[in-house]
């Protein structure tokens, strides 16, 4: 993996809408096979940044390049990455199996039974074996997220984006998801980009991260979570990473 190109390069990205700038001049790189996290307080534009990275929004200024394809463009056909949205965004009218198999049916010429085999494999991988015929409405919140991850994995992407995968899950499910992220990263060598708030997950899975700040509309910290926890020059970054300690002191998180 020496001298490999970064999986994602973002240069001088300005994002927002006409009258509301969320981030100015943001630049960062995500290396291949890295678990990378986008962190920050509420409303700083984490999920929005994700939307730019996957090409749902066009930058106001600056460039985004994904290795091998350049700027993300969802109009060109089979996307080279998988995405899990915050709510799961499973199609309510299809079964879980159909949700996961949708991309395979669209972009490969595999017969139905092979698609089904792959779908079962993906569902089993995320711990949802046997849910193929269920409707999304019959799944719990955590199961929906897992099914959405299975759907994101269906086309064997080298890169996946996960928007708050463990938010709102119980600690056991959340740990299970962290485990899954690590496995995907280790076994498949997948590059994984996360938006998350969960400190537990951050410490256990994230290699590198950036911290977006709402007030200064910029990235105020980057590096490994443990380092930032100790050595960030910004108090709010240290506060973020030491949330528990701070809660004990003044009983106030925000």
């Amino acid at each position: 993996m020496s001298a490999a190109k970064p999986a994602i390069t973002v240069q001088n990205l300005t994002m927002g809408w006409d009258d509301r700038i969320l981030q100015k001049d943001a630049s960062f790189e995500v290396q291949k096979s890295e678990v990378f996290a986008i962190l920050g307080g509420s409303g700083c534009g984490k999920s929005t940044l994700l939307r730019y990275l996957i090409g749902l929004e066009k930058p106001m200024e600056g460039d985004i390049a994904i290795e091998g394809i350049g700027a993300p463009d969802l109009a060109v056909g089979r996307p080279p990455f998988g995405v899990m949205f915050q709510s799961g965004a499973l199609f309510g009218s299809m079964t879980v199996g159909q949700n996961v198999g949708l991309g395979l049916r669209q972009w490969t010429d595999l017969p139905d039974d092979a698609v089904e085999a792959i779908v079962s494999g993906k569902l089993a991988l995320v711990g949802l074996q046997g849910t193929e015929d269920k409707l999304p409405a019959e799944l719990s919140g955590g199961m929906k997220k897992r099914a959405a991850i299975a759907r994101a994995l269906a086309l064997e992407p080298g890169l996946i984006f996960l928007d708050e995968p463990s938010a709102g899950l119980d600690p056991v499910s959340s740990a299970g998801l962290d485990e899954l992220i690590l496995t995907l990263n280790r076994v498949h060598g997948m590059t994984i980009i996360l938006v998350t708030h969960e400190l537990e997950s951050i410490y256990s899975v994230v290699g590198q991260c950036i911290y977006l700040d709402k007030e200064s509309q910029s990235i105020i910290a980057r590096g490994a979570p443990r380092e930032l926890q100790e050595h960030s020059e910004h108090e709010k970054v240290r506060d973020f990473f030491n949330r528990r300690a701070r809660q004990q002191n003044d009983g106030d998180e925000k």
């Binding site: 199609f91 309510g92 009218s93 395979l104 490969t108 010429d109 595999l110 017969p111 039974d113 092979a114 085999a117 792959i118 079962s120 494999g121 993906k122 089993a124 991988l125 074996q129 046997g130 849910t131 193929e132 015929d133 409707l135 999304p136 409405a137 994995l153 269906a154 086309l155 064997e156 496995t183 076994v187 498949h188």
Partner: protein, 371 residues
Amino acid sequence: MTPDPALRSEDAPFRLQGRLVLGEAKGLLDSLRKQEETLRGGDTFPIDLSEVSEIDGASAAILLGSVRRLRDKGVTCEISGAGEGVREIVSLYESATSKKPGEPKPQTGMIVDVGRGTLALVLGIKEVLGFVGQVVIEALGVIRRPQTGNWRDIVPIAERSGADAVPIVVFINFLVGFVMGFQGAKQLKMFGANIFVADLVGLSVTRELGPLMTAIILSGRSGAAFAAELGTMKVSEEIDALRTLGFGPMRYLVLPRTLALVLVAPVLTLLADFVGIAGGLLVGVTSLNLSVAGYWQETRKVIHAWDINSGLLKAVAFALVISLISCQQGFATTGGAEGVGRRTTTSVVSSLFALILVDTAFTVFFRVFDL
């Protein structure tokens, strides 16, 4: 890259080579299929992965699916020689898929389906009746304590359902009167009874078509809107949230909609009566050589207050039917976007059906009592 199956001799392992990735999965599947066809129970089928440089989850799933099918047939299947990376992926999918699968869905026959359908219909009617009962109870509660009602929403809803519907109500009812007049004119001319076109149009518009056409428009516009709006609120848990905030959803959502529709329906119907008669008048004046004054006089002579009032009475009943059915359908929505679409469709279809039923009941009732 997959080997030519013909090259394999009896006991030599089946050797897979190169990169087994999604793009090559079809080839892999086809060559495994060919092997599966030739193998019988008791055979051995060693699979050698030593020359596989890379495998992805899809190919692993296909390979393992084939292995499972062969093992079910009684073929001894061994996977060997995989390098570390390949072995890790294969075993990841192997351990995942070896857990017990879900039970298959039971198949159902036609008789079962018919039974279920009938039961669903009966339960549906029961649900609507239960809903109506609840609305009545809530309405009585509001009458007793008016300050608990959601009066603020009535005007905006009435504006959306009523004022905004004026153009289409005018347009459609004018044309209905016009068409009625036209069809009647041809027949009446034969008897030299030209002037009676005013009677025909006036009576049928006020007693029947004005209220009915208006109700059909209301059901398509407002009924569908109510069902979709409440349905979306239901599936996004907004109705539950309202409940937890102490708002009765009946009181807060259903009563204002029902009341607003009951208020605007008679007004729109009056308007419909008027433009319907105007449509007939246009025909009378242009193709039957009637004067405006003559037509108007004939109309006033034949239409009594009860003709208009009975139409307005119907309009109120129609408004109740439309709003209750569509709100009930909205509340019964489950699932997601598709559920909302289904319930909206059902709401419009059932409303139209119920409108015709209620209209028939009214007409028969009026006839029997000679009203």
